[in-house]
Amino acid sequence: GAGVSQSPRYKVAKRGQDVALRCDPISGHVSLFWYQQALGQGPEFLTYFQNEAQLDKSGLPSDRFFAERPEGSVSTLKIQRTQQEDSAVYLCASSSLNEKLFFGSGTQLSVL
């Protein structure tokens, strides 16, 4: 596609519910990143994929967070047993040369 696509755009979850956030990167981009952005803050790194390999998951806040990219294109960020502190915008970005990142519009997650 023309850009990075994320879905859903908004997600409201009840505390304890599992959620799955999808990212379609730019076709051919090897690198894919997930970031978490709290209100009024800058994006915080969560995890990084090179093709299908998850090379860095050091930013994932807890073992309730899980990301995958099984075929090296679409990626899914899954959050199990959501908590109120998980409420944030989740941004996906892709890159071909690990320099300039192209971001999606994000998924705004609200946990009630």
Partner: protein, 113 residues
Amino acid sequence: SQQGEEDPQALSIQEGENATMNCSYKTSINNLQWYRQNSGRGLVHLILIRSNEREKHSGRLRVTLDTSKKSSSLLITASRAADTASYFCATDARGDSSYKLIFGSGTRLLVRP
């Protein structure tokens, strides 16, 4: 935790004026980037400056980098109402994790028409 800190946190100027935002970071870098974010949208890349460069221009944007002070500035000249957005600096880190961009907390710019 965030590597960079922008200053000021918020800036309000009149259309036509120049806007200057500053960024400080902590560790040695390969390059520094600036991104812009409109409310409710993703970030858009503006400009990249490498550690061996001191100044770079792109249209109405001018970026400087001082690696000895670990700081950068973004100047937007002749601002327009459409420049209203949040601006973030982002740095990589030399070494094995150079793929990872660390973002600052951002400067919220308001350009009044």
